[in-house]
Structure formats: C-alpha cells, structure tokens
Symmetry: C2
Subunit: 190 residues, 2 copies
DNA sequence: ATAAATACAGACAGGTCTGTCTACTTCCGG
DNA sequence: CCGGAAGTAGACAGACCTGTCTGTATTTAT
C-alpha cells in the first residue's frame, strides 16, 4: 500500500499508524484534550479503520498506555543490562536523569492517566496498575541485590523517589531528577 | 436568600456554592471530565450566575486551583505553627501522611492540572506554578533551619519526596507517604 | 411599599465529541 | 483477471460541550 512516499520499506499498517499518532498526541496534550478526529487527521486514517482496530476510544487509550509501559520496560532493561545487580537501583536513576532531559519529556504517562481517568476499572488504569507492580518488583529485587537492610521499605522509598523525580521534573525542570538520584545514592549507601 | 433549608446561618452565595461544587468535582474526576452543566446541576445554580461570577470555564478551573492552593497553605501553616523551625521539614511529612489517609484523597491537584492542561500559560497552570515556588521557598527555609549542609539540594530533595509521596500514594496506597517520611528522616538526620 | 441587587430557568447557537454505517478504492495473491 | 483483504471518504445520529441571552423571581435595603 503506497500512500504518499514511495519507499523501500512499506509504511506501517494503519493500526500502527493510528497508535503511533495517538500515543504522541495523548502524551503531549492529554487523553481527554485530544479527540479521535484529531488522531485521525494526523494519522491520515479513516474512522472505520480506527474502530476496526480499536473498538472505542477507551481501547485506544489503553493501547497507548500499554505502548508506553512496554517502551519503558525495554528501555530500562536495556539500560541496566550490563549493570551488576547490586548497582542497578542507583543506575536506574541515571536513566531517569536522562529521560527527563529528553525533548518530548512531559512527565509520567501513568500519573497522567490516573489524573485524567478516575475510574480504576478503566482498561488504561488497569494497565497502569500492572506497571506499578512491575516497578515495585524491580525495586525490591534491586534493593535486595544492593544489600539493603530493609528491602521492602527501600523498594517503597525508591518508588517514591522515582515518582517524585518525574512529577517534580515535569513541573520544576530536569534538575529534580538529579535531586532524586542524590537521595537514592544516600539511601543506598547506608 | 433561603433556598431549601431554613437555617440560622445564611447559605453561601451562589459564587461560593459554585466554587465549592466545582472544586470537589474537579478534584474527584478531573477538570475535563466534568462539564459545566454538571457543576450547575450539583450546585443548583443558574448558568448566568456561573458566567457572571466566572467569565468562563477556564476561570472556574483557575479558581479551583487557587482554592486548593490556599487551603493547603493554611493547613500546612496551622499544622506547623507550634513546631520549632528546625523540625518543620520532617513534621511536614507527618502532615502528608495524614493527608493521604483522608477519605477524599486523590493525589495532588497541581499534578492533575499539569497532566490535564498542557498549556503552561493557562491561568490554572500559572496558579500551580506559583504554589511550586511557595513550596520551594518553604522547603529551603526549613532545610536551613534544620542545619542542612546543602540547603539548596535538600530543598530540592524534599520537593521530590513530597511529589513522590503524593503521586505514589495516589497509585499504590497511603503507605507510600510513610516511605517518604522515612527517607526525609534519614536525609535530615545527616 | 419600592427599587436595586442578586439569582434564577432555560432557550438558543454553534461547535465538538464518540460511535455507526455505507459505498467505494486500492492492493495483493492466486 | 478476479476475489478477498485492508483501507478509505465521509455522512449521519445523538449526546455533550461552552458560552450568550432574555425574561422572571427572590432577596435585601431604604
């Protein structure tokens, strides 16, 4: 299907195109601020395609969250791949420091979803909750590997620091991620 | 003006009633999820009154944020009134621990506004930014009073911990505020 | 009692939203 | 070539949204 640019690589299917576009717009402006007509116009796709691939807007929103979650997981895993387990907790905050400096950084997609969608049963909220569990499991694993005296409390603290780094960076600027990394370093060197 | 309940205390004026209602609904469900007709119906007020007292919805949203900000400031100030300056930083986190346990707790209104309204020039965003500055000034003052070696870094760290406590409590539950308080304690006892 | 201030009920306009649907087009493989 | 798969353009319905406006009702102060 050659649309506008003839290239050696076939353009993504319409589902991918819709999800890419929605993902970017939703993250940039918010899931409620962006209506489906906007997504359609910018993805250059037809309404029937959207409803064929995603049953409704809420499903598109959930797919956006799943996309963000999968992206973060693979980035984190790649970033820490060569880091010894005992050093991963602190090294994670290097990743955060990098992330908040990226040009399209606008805070935490999970925090945004929780703000915009108050119903905890919404599919996007369920996807967000699953990522919380994943993160908690990672922090617990890393706290143990780092030899923390109380891995449970340390994991909780690391989650708080992560959330705070992201939320505060969104509002005050990227230096807040360095503040968080510093605190994590103090905490983990005890 | 006796509307439905004859009482010794006159009912609030319609402006107050509208703002009370909007404040609660906006915090509970989000500023975009709640339309003005919902506010009107629950406040039992007329549309002309809303537009007389608040020029437009955006002004009502900004008034909601100002209300939340003023409420938080007065609570914090009252809570710390009898606390020696050197102990205020940590005592503040006791306030956070209490707040996240309140029945209507749903996270940080500032974080919600930042998520829902991407335009930094929006009056609600400006109100939120002013509160960030106030908070930073308080933390800096308290870090100095606590004798922190680096009050600037400590103030930044405390802001991160505050944001993290609130965001993580919203998503995981109130134990996260206790995690944050513990970290603040470690940090301030150095 | 009367006038002014305050608030009300609700129609209206125009736009936007989400989702449903039909007829048509394009591409690809047999 | 032909049929099926995938995608398109866009009309439509109904609901909801924000803001404008008019006439009416209620309360308060003189």
């Amino acid at each position: 299907m050659s649309r506008h640019k003839p290239s050696a690589v076939p353009p993504p299917g319409v589902r991918e195109r819709l999800l890419d576009t929605a993902d970017q717009l939703f993250y940039k402006e918010g899931v409620r601020a962006v209506g489906i007509d906007r997504v359609l116009a910018e993805a250059d796709a037809a309404k029937a395609s959207l409803y064929l691939h995603f049953g409704c807007k809420d499903e598109l929103i959930a797919a956006h969250v799943e996309r963000r979650v999968a992206g973060a997981r693979s980035q984190i895993e790649a970033y820490l791949h060569d880091t010894p387990p005992g050093e991963r907790a602190l090294r994670f905050f290097d990743w955060v420091v990098d992330w908040v400096k990226s040009p399209d950084f606008r805070g935490c997609p999970l925090q945004h979803i929780v703000a915009e969608i108050s119903d905890p049963k919404h599919p996007a909220r369920l996807a967000a909750a699953r990522q919380r569990e994943w993160l908690h499991a990672r922090f617990l694993e890393w706290a143990r590997a780092a030899g923390a005296a109380d891995p449970g409390a340390t994991a909780g603290a690391l989650l708080v620091l992560f959330d705070g780094a992201v939320a505060a960076s969104e509002q005050d600027g990227p230096q807040r991620a360095r503040n968080a990394r510093w605190v994590a370093g103090q905490l983990l060197s005890r």
